[in-house]
Point group: C2
Chain length 309, copies 2
């Protein structure tokens, strides 16, 4: 007997176990961050992510400060996806027993540099050790007057993306800068109907956004901004640069929906990173498609990495 497995099936099952409504939970599972209402009336956003040696980094090869940077930066990217402001971070380090104090300090130095750079106070955590590989979990708290959800995209909205995609494995996945300031400037310039950060790969993450919004999407292949890294990787492995841009994970760029009448307001911003319109959201019944340079519409299938399959 086979059983459905994988991160997404498990998350789906977990969500089915949770109560549908709790007045304290103003944004529940399914978005980049959850939001909770505090007894004193305050509202706080929270997200948590683990990175594992051998999966998200390679401790034998990658610089420890970069690993520390990544552990916090990928959480800050979730804050960017809500157009929110960091409030603080905590984290736990599960250290291999033979880790030295100098290695621990190198790791924390990268975490701390990221915390300082993005003005997110580090307020504590937990240190453990074991005879297994390094695991780092960071949790971030944030706040937004109006958090941008995944669920607000509507048919007709433009699909926009920051930066250039694909090939982050060549190094960018460790050293990327979360788009915190860019997200807030975009949200100030125009109402963003929906937003997500690209962690699993464009083809997978746009599926998350479409599902939460109840829409489909039509992307134009020729408009997808392909990074130099994607071109380099493609030259090595025989896949196309577009394949890398669509399906590689860990770009940590922003994908967002904006009404056509507002799109000029985001395109004129001088963000220091390009913003590209790569397609349109469409009614859910039309599904998710990619139009190639010959005008053929292909099914856009989630091609990103899925854990525990």
């Amino acid at each position: 007997m086979t059983e459905p497995r994988g991160e997404l099936a498990f998350i789906h099952w977990i969500r089915s176990q949770l109560p549908s409504a709790d007045p304290r939970v103003t944004i529940g599972p399914g978005d980049d961050m959850a939001e909770l209402r505090l007894p004193d009336g305050g509202r706080v956003l929270v997200a948590t992510d683990t990175i594992l040696d051998g999966t998200h980094f390679d401790a034998r090869r990658d610089p420890l400060p970069d690993i520390g940077w990544k552990a916090l930066a990928e959480n800050l990217s979730d804050i960017a996806a809500m157009a929110a402001v960091p409030v603080g971070a905590v984290g736990t380090l599960a250290l291999p027993r033979d880790f030295t104090m100098a290695q621990g300090q190198d790791l924390f130095t990268g975490l701390k540099r990221c915390a300082d750079e993005f003005d997110c106070p580090w307020v504590g955590g937990d240190i453990t050790s074991w005879d297994q590989r390094l695991a780092i979990t960071v949790t971030v708290l944030a706040h937004a007057e109006r958090p941008v959800r995944r669920s607000g995209a509507r048919a007709g909205h433009c699909v926009c993306v920051t930066g250039r995609l694909g090939g982050s494995l060549l190094g960018r996945h460790l050293t990327f800068r979360p788009r915190l300031a860019e997200a807030r400037r975009l949200a100030e310039a125009a109402p963003l109907a929906a937003m997500i950060d690209l962690s699993d790969g464009l083809s997978t993450d746009i599926g998350h956004l479409c599902r939460e919004s109840g829409v489909g999407v039509c992307l134009e292949a020729a408009r997808v901004p392909v990074s130099d890294d994607a071109v380099q990787l493609a030259a090595r492995d025989g896949r196309t640069p577009l394949d890398h841009a669509l399906n590689d994970g860990e770009d940590f760029e922003l994908l967002f929906a904006v009404a056509e009448s507002d799109v000029a307001r985001v395109l004129v911003l001088d963000l220091g990173v390009e913003v590209t319109v790569i397609g349109r959201f469409v009614p859910a019944a039309e599904g998710c498609t990619l139009v190639d340079s010959q005008g053929h519409a292909l099914d856009l299938k989630p091609g990103g990495y899925e854990h525990w399959r």
Copy 2:
């Protein structure tokens, strides 16, 4: 060249790297939870803890629902230590690749049962997988009008503890009930000057509380409440029951300081768990001592478990 190592030295170094004051950080590292002030004026408490297969549990032997329960319950115990109310929890599961969906569900069922029992909404997290052992990290958010800190104990205050200590390894470390309701009732009955939950062992945790408060302590060995589990374990391993009660970890009972004039108000409560006065806080210069049944004062040394030594 030897280098200082271990969880405590590393945490000490990390604290030395952090800015001493940030207006957003109302309680910084060094307490059971940190507290942050949100841009909307709200205040939120946060704590995070990891449990690791082979260190905090044994996935070959311990029931998966109990492991899930423990992952959340030990975080809720930190909330109890601040006399706070849970607001929500998130968590990350790093699953061994051969974990089955049924195993994942068993694990989550225990987490969820704990979340329901203590009214702490579960609002999401992250699932990853790897070729290493199971690691679970939970982060909890909480709120208290007046959080009870570790730093308020003064010479002359009584040292109180809930429950009976030692031998949790026989099973209680997986199935304990965090003292959330008890902590709030204690804090309502009398001003608690300081509090901590017993996770590393009485002899170690009282040191944390003394250090943060700038006091010493004098405990009476005969008053330390010894659990039946400690007696059982002692019969097996030749250590004394008192040694287990002083030095075993994961009791998850509360240790707190209360003025002598207030102590009667906590002792008369019917909490469903005993509260025992086990000694007095003293000036820091007098150090930490344990008076044995013959009236001899011995040095009270931290004898609990320390990670990464």
